[in-house]
Symmetry: C2
Subunit: 559 residues, 2 copies
């Protein structure tokens, strides 16, 4: 550390020494003295303009501005319609229909360029035949809504077009990531100084990082020697957990057979006794238990595994505890009168996951209103100082209930240095130790990627624009809607009846054709297909819930 400081100081001296000389020679400014222009649309004929006429083409500035303003017009119209309930969620076509070409919308690529006019038409058509995931009646995925601040952030991100691997070419974004990760760790309840993390391309990759970190922590030799050099390792996760745990198990060389599924109760929560029994069983067979994934909000039932009891078991057997809160969010105190601290909460994911078709399941939700299990160990918290959260790593997807645009997922690790140790390859062309700045800010050696997309800015900007309280309000609104839906379904005869198991796919097919709303379905265990109701769209209101329920009834009435 002393060495680094010295080296930095030396560089600073070097830089200062030449600075004066340079500044006298250097007539360039970065911010530019000329004031920013205000751009105005003019009627432009794009039929004779081509990509080659845009910047960096000579005199390409005016065409560039007009072209981009035209694109923005298309996008603003799309945004406007996205929130307009008189428009459809989608205009469904089968793959073969789109491939054949819809009214001149030709997906094939050719050797020769199209005019900018045609490119603008292509943009309109692309949106026309797509799905409006921001529509208030899109309930199909956990990622929904279209946050305007996030959208602005993403437009800026693509304009900046840079890469997260070094501070050198992404100084501001790298610092934003660091600050945001710190904030997230604090919310989890880890000490703010410790810990590490990185944004990754989605929750599945974040979950993969969690397993890699566990493996490296206990068996660092795996990095050089591989899986053959370590004991036969097994991972534990619930039968209701996300499929990415098994996927990572396959990819990382554990094998899916060595991802042992723990039984859940009827609410979809891990049965701790089954976990302990399976750990003992594995040990007896000569396997080494490495890792447990607990889910805080499962994908289908929205169940919260009993983290405290699982953490006790992990401590007892010295296992890594990963908590997958992909689908959930930090939710602050006002819902739990008086506890002024960050809590992961049972309700948000549980209630939205209403199995509309099965009355038998509905009674499980009322209890969730009473038995809330905060993930924190210390429930008597001082404001802003949550006590130790017991996980070793956490997957957190802001692109779900927080409404951040896709993609935005983070892996958080309680112990600093593990990500770096696990993934560092010290590529000489990127991570030169003799740079003029503090290279501990270069993030590339923590990642399994080389280039890494800037996912942080939209999230940072949304946080700035909403504040923590804004996220809370947004999420509370979803919770209230979920309660509303729950109450509505409960009192509605049509949803008490046990439909034929094939009704959900049929209603969904009709729903897609009609394009009026979207909601997912799936079977689970011995249950036939049911609707998986997701309420995470900040644009949805009670009227949209009413609409959905009516629509399901309407579409299903003749089946």
């Amino acid at each position: 550390m002393a060495e680094r400081t010295n080296s930095l100081e030396e560089k600073s001296r070097l830089v200062s020494a030449f600075k004066e000389r340079q500044s006298s020679k250097n007539l360039l400014s970065c911010e530019n003295s000329d004031r920013d222009a205000r751009f105005h649309r003019t009627e432009t004929d794009f039929s004779n303009l081509f990509a080659r006429d845009l910047l960096p083409a000579k005199n390409g500035e005016e065409q560039t501005v007009q072209f981009l303003l035209e694109v923005v017009d298309i996008l603003l119209n799309y945004v406007r319609k996205t929130f307009d309930r008189s428009t459809k969620v989608l205009d469904f076509h089968h793959p073969h229909q789109l491939l054949e070409g819809m009214e001149g919308f030709n997906l094939e690529l050719s050797d020769h360029p199209e005019s900018l006019e045609q490119i603008l038409v292509d943009c309109r058509d692309t949106l026309k035949y797509g799905v409006r995931t921001g529509h208030p009646r899109f309930f199909n995925q956990l990622s929904s809504g279209l946050d305007i601040i996030g959208l602005a952030g993403e437009w800026l991100t693509s304009t900046a077009n840079t890469n997260m691997f070094t501070y050198e070419i992404a100084p501001v974004f790298v610092l934003m990531e660091q600050i945001t990760l710190k904030k997230m760790r604090e919310m989890i309840g880890w000490s703010s100084k410790d810990g590490d993390g990185i944004f990754s391309p989605g929750g599945a990759i974040s979950n993969m990082y969690g397993i890699m970190a566990a493996r490296y922590k206990y068996f660092p030799e795996v990095k050089t020697k591989g899986m053959v050099a370590v004991p036969k390792l097994v991972l534990f996760t619930s039968e209701h957990s996300h499929y990415s745990i098994k996927k990572a198990g396959a990819a990382l060389g554990f094998g899916t057979d060595n991802v042992i599924l723990i039984k859940c109760n009827e609410r979809g929560k891990i049965i701790p006794a089954d976990l302990e029994a399976k750990i003992l069983e594995a040990k007896q067979k000569g396997y080494v238990p490495l890792y447990v994934n607990a889910t805080a909000g499962t994908t289908v039932y929205g169940a919260f595994d009993p983290i405290q009891e699982i953490a006790d078991i992990c401590e007892k057997y010295n296992l890594w505890l990963h908590v997958d809160v992909s689908t959930v969010i930090h939710r602050a105190a006002q819902f739990l009168q008086g506890v002024e601290a960050a809590l992961f909460y049972d309700l948000p994911q549980l209630l939205p996951t209403l199995q509309l078709a099965f009355s038998a399941h509905q009674n499980s939700f009322s209890s969730s209103l009473v038995t809330n299990q905060p993930l924190m160990t210390d429930t008597a918290q001082r404001p802003g100082s949550c006590a130790s959260f017991r996980a070793n790593s956490v997957t957190w997807n802001p692109h779900k209930l927080m409404g951040v645009l896709l993609q935005c997922s983070a892996i958080l690790v309680r112990e600093k240095g593990i990500l770096q140790g696990c993934n560092q390859m010290c590529a000489g062309y990127l991570f030169q130790p003799d740079k003029q700045y503090d290279v501990s800010y270069d993030t590339g050696d923590k990642a399994i990627q080389c280039g890494r997309h800037v996912d942080i800015f939209k999230f940072w900007l949304m946080w700035k624009a909403k504040g923590t309280v804004g996220f809370e309000n947004q999420i509370n609104k979803c919770l209230e809607l979920a309660e509303y839906l729950y109450a509505k379904i409960k009192n509605r005869e049509e949803f008490e009846m046990v439909f034929d198991g094939e009704v959900a796919p049929k209603i969904k097919a009709l729903m897609m054709e009609s394009g009026t709303t979207m909601v997912g379905y799936q079977p689970q265990g011995d249950k036939a297909n049911f609707f998986r109701m997701v309420i995470s769209n900040p644009g949805a209101t009670q009227s949209d819930i009413d609409f959905l329920v009516e629509e399901i009834e309407r579409l299903g009435q003749d089946l």
Copy 2:
């Protein structure tokens, strides 16, 4: 297949049966009959507006439009300045300076919201303190330039805010990906019908897919049983190859020791005899050789491994051949008079990688002008019908020399079904087999990700707008510039001298401070630090090369 058709037909009947009934009830339209609005900026006071006042807020439309138009103004100014040589490439600050806050630019997140006025200032500041990777004098990374069509595509992509995992929510993008991957495979020279591929978050992940595909092809049991159940596998790659091969080796459970490095000649190309010797050596030691990575354009020297000879060896020993063309591009015929077919070519990456500081290396480049090694087996090709390209998998990054915005990388696999077999987990909540459309279009089960960002649209749109010929012209321009630089350096005394090995970092530090241009440096083997010159920026001209050379001289003159 017959079953699928029947099932589809049945669904079609079902859908048709209800269509009429629905359409009579359904008053919504997707395209909307009202014409698209044309939006105009008005003077808006953003100081009392907040995120909560934007859509989906009631009456939020006007504020939303005005806010986004204001953001667009900021972005258009940035775009304009990016191409303006009188502006700096960057305005360098150390991490601690940015963290302390620059003239009111505060990176910290707070509980309470900022006004939209402050958000707009944050956007301006974010760009102000960033790096203009699209500046004509940014030579620091293979990803550079700011393609306007790609930018428009990325703005649209973020507005559509959807996910590639199912046709259901990304019908148009899924088909665009399929069509583009097919085109890319054809260019490689594989039969258009066969083959598979997927866009991934960067070349490192694409390379990881290549190794996973190889492992699954030869040892499918690894998916369920893990690395302990298969022989001790080894991978081969050159000592000059990208570090992501080792990174993937570590992650996937091979271990970096089992990624065997093949010796290169002085040009940085694999010595085939060394490859064969190391394969035999590994076999003798009881290891099973699985995979060879050949690089078509190494990261630092830009060397092309001798693919044909490596392919011969792979065939002889039954190994999977992956070709990492991350850094290179398809380049069409006109440069090689008369061969009217797609060729991977030796020059594009080799010439740009000029080691400015070392005269000893410069003679290696002149030969590259003569000895071009196409990657195709069949060099006597008919136009449009390249014969078999011998790799089993290929990594291709359009976000490098093709100038597509970050991120855009594809893994291409010659044999269909391997990606699916390797990664399929059949998640019930996403990949329901009983959907109303042909679910073979759902891509999620090929990926190691669950959610997957839409990386295809900007690339598809650029291809539409430029045509294949447009990409060729763009790349030829880079090649010509590289030749120009080579000629210039060769005749310049200042670059013939062998600098002290520490000169490159020092010049780079001064360059960052001055902000006038950016170029990377690194050591290699026993060579001290040298500049790694990348010419892939479509905005660069001869004047920028002149500027760079002068600038290196100027900054280095007093060292």
